[in-house]
């Protein structure tokens, strides 16, 4: 009985303080951690593989016009399973080590991306051109206003000027840096 109590006390004393000073000091998760999603809009070809595998339906795809595919991300629902980044052929989606997603506005977690694509010659719907050469003239994207607030991984708001209201868009991404 008493011995037991002493052993318990010993365990308590030996351990010392183990709690982390977390909010006051950063805490880095292990490499390979599936944190907040990051999206490199430059790389997205609008193939829709991510939307097809996403278990919680974070990613919605809508073809607004023959050449504009809208990818809508509702990150509030993301379960961080990492299927999207796994299947993304271009590596456009990736998980960061970020895990602080708290926000006062749910809109911060909404992200919309319009990808300019080649229209299918037969049905007229959006279609990722198969070869790099073909992709060259049609690549481009547009990001929604709310993305701007969501974080640094997203394109700058200035790009929104590219949007032409009538749906006819410039086929050339002006921002794309030359190699």
């Amino acid at each position: 009985m008493l011995l037991s109590k002493l052993r318990e006390a010993l365990i308590c004393v030996q351990a010392g303080r183990v709690t982390l000073p977390y909010p006051f000091a950063p805490h880095d998760p292990a490499p390979g951690f599936r944190g907040k999603l990051s999206l490199d809009a430059d790389l997205c070809i609008g193939c829709g593989g991510c939307a097809a595998v996403c278990p919680s339906g974070v990613i919605l795809i809508r073809d607004d016009a023959p050449m504009v595919r809208t990818l809508h991300f509702s990150l509030a629902r993301c379960t961080y399973c990492g299927r999207c980044s796994e299947v993304c052929p271009e590596g456009a989606l990736a998980h960061t080590l970020e895990f602080e997603t708290a926000t006062n506005t749910v809109d911060d977690l909404e992200l919309s991306l319009d990808v300019f694509m080649g229209p299918c010659q037969r049905c007229g719907r959006c279609f990722p051109p198969p070869t790099s050469m073909e992709q060259l003239p049609v690549r481009g994207f547009r990001a929604d206003t709310s993305c701007a607030r969501a974080g640094a991984d997203l394109p700058a708001p200035g790009l929104l000027d590219l949007w032409a209201p009538n749906g006819v868009t410039s086929a050339v991404d002006l921002r794309r840096p030359t190699p």
């Binding site: 011995l3 037991s4 998760p29 292990a30 278990p55 339906g57 809508h72 299927r83």
Partner: protein, 565 residues
């Protein structure tokens, strides 16, 4: 070839049922499918009981689109023969009624109430015909798991609905434990009928968290998405559910999982058991006011969480399982780290065990508390540590081997105290055994791929899988359908049978013993109730205002509203 034990079972069933036995065939090496005339369900059940089989769960299937009626499938396990037996009763769509088997098997009570609610087949002669799963304001006659009810159907709530409650016996007063009670981390409502501090009876109302996850799996999601949904059935033992689902689907589709994947699953399952048992120990300590145990065991648990984060990319909900294997491999570089963590945890766990085994105040709080006799544990079909602490030798890892447990047999940790203390001891033993298993698994980790390639899963196949979760055995039943998704997916979490044992365990105990008794089965209400929150297809995310939240919590406390499909 039909195994000897199942052959015997078929022989006996044939002799008992005669023409009532419609079909008996072996669907898989470990699953015997017996279709019987619904009128003979009691005879068949009695025969199964006579054979010493253990009732698992009932699956209700709406087979009308397939040209049938309602299929009521009682699942049984022949543990010694490593077999599952499904007693299928095709109930006609015109007269959706079937004899209740609860009078024969008390543990079937909830399973039958559940198919009554969800499929709309009435168990005739059920001792407690009240609602179990559906909310009180759910309209009568709407059965959500019928195929003609859309997954996102929201019926108008019935005005003035109130839960059907048992009234307390004369001379007793009611002490409510739940829906919102400090040590029940999830909503569940026990109304204790007390005389003084002695509990003379109780009434249970639960399933406040029901979100129709099975319906989502049946109707919306594809094979590959379901593991991630299944993983979220439980916050602690999610990997168990995704494994169990994948195994059921793999069995149905006949997919052979690569050995390395099987080993990795084993490692993750056992790591999950380690941290779950440590977590439970802490919570049990907290329940009896011993917060030091909570703090110290959770401190010991933490390295395991970091380890799983390193392996899987997340401390919980690993997201590793896929139908056909696992997504993420364990690199050789991680192995020493795993060994380190195991050594630390083992050392600390031994110290904790040494410290608490002789603690007489702990004995005072746990010995003789929450008694569950071996007989009643069998009757109510209790699983996992509570069963083993009542000296019922069942362990799905040994009885229905899966993953790599055929190579790495666990010890069967039994105790015969039939009380909370025995449950502590069983879990401490299992903790040590799990550490050994992980160590052996990484020592013998085979090389090779981790994910099997497979084509389309054919429709109309059936798979039943059991996985020994830290809390007990989880059962998943999968009936495949076309278009890349199951026709019916049934989940039975270990808390489902264990929770039914609670009323017997707390009768005659004092109020002070009730929380620890409930805690001693390590209840997981949302597992049992299969929670999921967001409607996936329309993509609308609802933001609740404070007012709405208040309204929700208030309505949830009366047992109405709050959950919809």
């Amino acid at each position: 070839m039909i195994a000897t034990a199942t052959a015997e079972a078929v022989t006996l069933l044939t002799s008992r049922l005669g023409a009532g036995l419609l079909v008996a065939r072996e669907l898989e090496p470990d699953l015997l499918w017996v279709s019987v005339n619904p009128a003979d369900v009691r005879t068949a059940t009695a025969t199964m009981k006579e054979l010493g089989t253990r009732f698992l769960v009932t699956v209700g299937i709406d087979e009308r689109p397939l040209g049938g009626g309602y299929g009521i499938v009682h699942l049984f396990a022949m543990d010694d023969a490593h077999q599952f037996v499904a007693i299928d009763c095709p109930v006609s769509a015109g007269d959706p009624r079937i004899d209740s088997i609860t009078p024969l098997i008390p543990g079937a009570a909830w399973a039958e109430q559940e198919f009554h609610d969800m499929i709309g087949v009435e168990p005739v002669g059920h001792p407690d015909p009240r609602r179990l799963v559906l909310p009180d304001d759910w309209p009568k006659g709407v059965h959500p798991l019928r195929r003609d009810v859309a997954y996102n159907y929201r019926p108008p709530s019935v005005e003035g609905a109130a839960p059907e409650l048992k009234s307390p016996p004369k001379g007793t007063s009611v002490v409510p434990i739940g829906p919102f009670f400090p040590v029940l981390e999830e909503p569940a409502r026990f109304r204790l009928f007390v005389e003084g501090e002695t509990v003379v009876g109780c009434d249970y109302r639960g399933f406040y968290n029901h979100r129709g996850i099975e319906k989502l799996g049946d109707s919306v999601l594809t094979w590959d998405r379901i593991p991630f949904l299944a993983e979220r059935i439980c916050g602690i033992c999610g990997f168990i559910h995704s494994t169990c689902y994948c195994q059921a689907a793999e069995k149905a589709a006949g997919i052979v999982v690569p050995r390395r994947a099987a080993y990795i699953r084993t490692i993750m399952l056992e790591l999950e058991r380690i941290h779950s048992h440590l977590l439970w120990l802490g919570i049990a300590g907290h329940i009896i006011g011993f917060d030091t145990v909570l703090m110290q065991t959770w401190r010991i648990r933490e390295p395991v969480m970091w380890l799983t984060e390193e392996i899987s990319g997340n401390r919980k909900t690993y997201g590793m399982n896929m139908v056909g294997g696992v997504r993420r491999d364990i690199s050789d570089a991680q192995l020493p780290r795993i060994r380190d963590v195991l050594a630390t945890v083992e050392r600390e766990a031994i110290a904790v065990r040494k410290a608490i085994t002789d603690d007489s105040t702990l004995h005072a709080r746990t010995k003789g508390v929450g008694p569950l006799s071996t007989e009643w544990a069998r009757e109510i079909c209790v699983v996992g540590p509570p069963a083993r602490a009542s000296n019922v030798p069942i362990d799905a890892r040994l009885d229905h081997p899966y993953a790599a447990y055929d190579d790495l047999p666990p010890h069967l940790c039994l105790a015969d105290g039939c009380d909370t203390w025995s449950r502590v001891i069983v879990r401490l033993d299992e903790l040590a055994d799990s550490i050994r298993l992980v160590r052996e698994a990484i020592d013998n980790l085979p090389t090779g791929p981790v994910l099997a390639e497979f084509d389309e899963i054919p429709a109309g196949r059936i798979g039943v899988s059991a996985v020994e979760a830290p809390r007990g055995e989880a059962i998943h039943f999968v009936m495949t359908g076309g278009v890349n998704r199951p026709y019916r997916w049934r989940v039975r979490a270990p808390t489902f049978p264990n929770l039914q044992a609670i009323p017997a365990m707390i009768r005659g105990q004092s109020i002070a013993d009730v929380p620890i008794t409930i805690g001693s089965i390590d209840p997981c209400f949302s597992c049992t109730e299969r929670m999921e929150t967001v409607d996936c297809r329309d993509g609308r995310v609802r933001v609740y205002s404070l007012k709405e939240l208040q309204a929700l919590t208030q309505s949830a406390s009366t047992g109405d509203g709050g959950y919809d499909l």
